[in-house]
Symmetry: C2
Subunit: 279 residues, 2 copies
C-alpha cells in the first residue's frame, strides 16, 4: 500500500475505504463536499483536504475518486493537474468506459486503472460507511488499453490490501455485463417501487418477498441517474429484454394459457435455484 492515499468523496464506498486504510496505518487525505462529513472523518484520523486544488494532493501516491460516475469524469481534468508525477488514479464507479476515456483526455490514461467494488447496497453516505466493507467483496479491476502496468499493480495492491476478491475485466465488457447483472435489477426494483407508490400502496403492506424485491429502490437517485445516463446503450438492450418478458407474460395471462404461464415461472425458478440466501 502507498504511504499516502487521497480519497475524494467520503460516502459509503469512499468512507469505508478510508476507514480500512486508516486501520492499516495508511495516511489518508479526504475530501467531501459536506463539511459535516469532513468533520466526522477527521475524528477517525482522516486529514481534510481544503478542496480539489489543495497542494497536499501532490503528496498522495494514489488517488481514489469515490463520487458518482459523471461527477468523477468532470473532476478528473482539474484534479489531474494537482497530482505528483508518480500518483496513480482509480475510481469506484459502476461504469468504466467513460471514466477511462476522461482519464485519457486528461492526459493521465497510463496512470489510471478503474475499479468497481460490488460492495455497496441501498444505503449511502458517510454514516453508512464501515470498516471491513470490502473484506471478501468482489471488486472489478478494469484496465483500458492505455492503462500502464505500474498503475494496474498499484490499484491491485490497494484492493488486495483491504481483502477484496479481484476480478479483471476490460472496461467495455464490464459495462455490458453490469447493465444486466446490476443496472437491470436496480431498474426493476425502482420501477416496481414507483408503480406501487403511484397506486398508493405503502412499503409496510408488502410481505418479506416484496421487501426483498423492492429493497434496491432505496438506492441513491443521484448515483443511479449518473449510471443510467453513462451506460444508456447497454442498459436499453437489457431493459428491452425485461419488458419483452413482462409483455409475454401479460399476453399469456390475457389468453389464460396455462403452459405459457407455467413456462414463465419455470425459467425463473430453474435459473435461480442457486441464488445464495440472504447473508
Amino acid at each position: 500500500l502507498p504511504d499516502t492515499v487521497a480519497i475524494v468523496g467520503l460516502g459509503l464506498i469512499g468512507g469505508s475505504l478510508a476507514r480500512d486504510l486508516r486501520a492499516r496505518e495508511v495516511r489518508v487525505l479526504g475530501y467531501d463536499r459536506e463539511p459535516a462529513t469532513l468533520a466526522a472523518a477527521a475524528a477517525v484520523g482522516i486529514e481534510a483536504l481544503r478542496g480539489l486544488t489543495d497542494p497536499a494532493l501532490g503528496e498522495a501516491g494514489l488517488l481514489v475518486l469515490a463520487v458518482p460516475v459523471t461527477v468523477a469524469a468532470e473532476l478528473l481534468p482539474l484534479v489531474a493537474r494537482q497530482l505528483g508525477d508518480g500518483c496513480v488514479v482509480t475510481d469506484v464507479g459502476s461504469t468504466k468506459r467513460s471514466i477511462a476515456e476522461a482519464a485519457r483526455r486528461a492526459g493521465i490514461g497510463a496512470r489510471f486503472a478503474g475499479s468497481h467494488p460490488l460492495a455497496g447496497d441501498h444505503r449511502s453516505g458517510w454514516d453508512a460507511s464501515r470498516e471491513g466493507l470490502f473484506s471478501g467483496a468482489r471488486v472489478f479491476l478494469c484496465p483500458s488499453p492505455d492503462t500502464g502496468e505500474a498503475a494496474l499493480a498499484a490499484v491491485r495492491s490497494l484492493w488486495r490490501g483491504v481483502d477484496a476478491r479481484l476480478e479483471e475485466l476490460g472496461a467495455e465488457e464490464h459495462d455490458r455485463q453490469l447493465a444486466w447483472t446490476s443496472h437491470l435489477p436496480q431498474l426493476a426494483a425502482s420501477a416496481l417501487a414507483g408503480a406501487l407508490a403511484s397506486a398508493g400502496w405503502r412499503p409496510d403492506q408488502l410481505g418479506p418477498g416484496g421487501r426483498d424485491a423492492t429493497r434496491l429502490a432505496a438506492s441513491s437517485p443521484e448515483v443511479w441517474s449518473a449510471i443510467s445516463r453513462d451506460n444508456a446503450e447497454p442498459i436499453a438492450a437489457a431493459l428491452s429484454a425485461l419488458t419483452e418478458r413482462l409483455a409475454a407474460f401479460q399476453a399469456a395471462l390475457a389468453a389464460d394459457d396455462p403452459q405459457a404461464i407455467r413456462r414463465f415461472f419455470e425459467l425463473a425458478h430453474r435459473w435461480s435455484r442457486d441464488v445464495p440466501p440472504p447473508p
Copy 2:
C-alpha cells in the same frame, strides 16, 4: 384450538402449521400426495390420512386446505362430503375470491372462512417447513358474505393459537391488494430472472442487491401459475402500471432527459425509505 385438525398438503405452510399444532398437543391428521412427506410427517406425530375420502376426516373439527389455490377449489366438493357436521374449513391460498365461491358451490359457504398467511418465502415443501413460522407473521382472514360467525371464530382461534397477527379483509379487497403488494413483486422478480437467464447470465454474477431483487424468482412455479390464473384481472392492472413505468424510463433514457431519469429514481427512493431492513 379444536381437538383434531386435518391438514391437506404438508408443504411449507401446511407442514409448518402441522408442526405448530403438534407442539401444542393438537391431534393432526395430514395428507400429502408425496408418500415420503407423509412418512416424514409421521415421525413428528402427524397421523397420515389414506386419501381425501378417508373416513377419519370426519373426526376433524377444522380442516385446512394447504395446496395451491386452484387445487384447493377442485378438492373442496370432494372433501366437503367427508366432513363432520360441525367441521369448519379454511385454506391458506394467496387468492381468496375463487375459493370462497368454490365453498359456496360445495354447500359449505357458512362453514368456510379463507386465510392467507404472509409467512411463506421462496422456499417450498415439507423440508422447508418449521415450527414457529407463523409467530408474529401477518395472516389475512378473509370472510365472504356467506361465512358464519362460528367459522370465523374457529379460524381466528387457529391463527391466534400459533401466534400470528390477524388482519381481517374481505375476499375481494384482499385479492386486489395482493395483486399489487405480493403478486406484482413476484412477477417483477420472475421476469427479471427470466430476462437474465435468456441472455445467458448466471445468478453468481449478481451482487447482493441483484440477489435481493431476484430472490422471489425461486418460488414454486406451480403455486404461482395457479395464483396468476386465479387473480388474472387485478394482476393485469398492476402489471400495466409496472410496464408503463419501465416504458417511461426507457423513453427518458433514449431522450437523455436528466430530469425525467432523476424523477424515476426519486419516486422509488422516497417511497422505500421506510422499507424495513432484511431480518
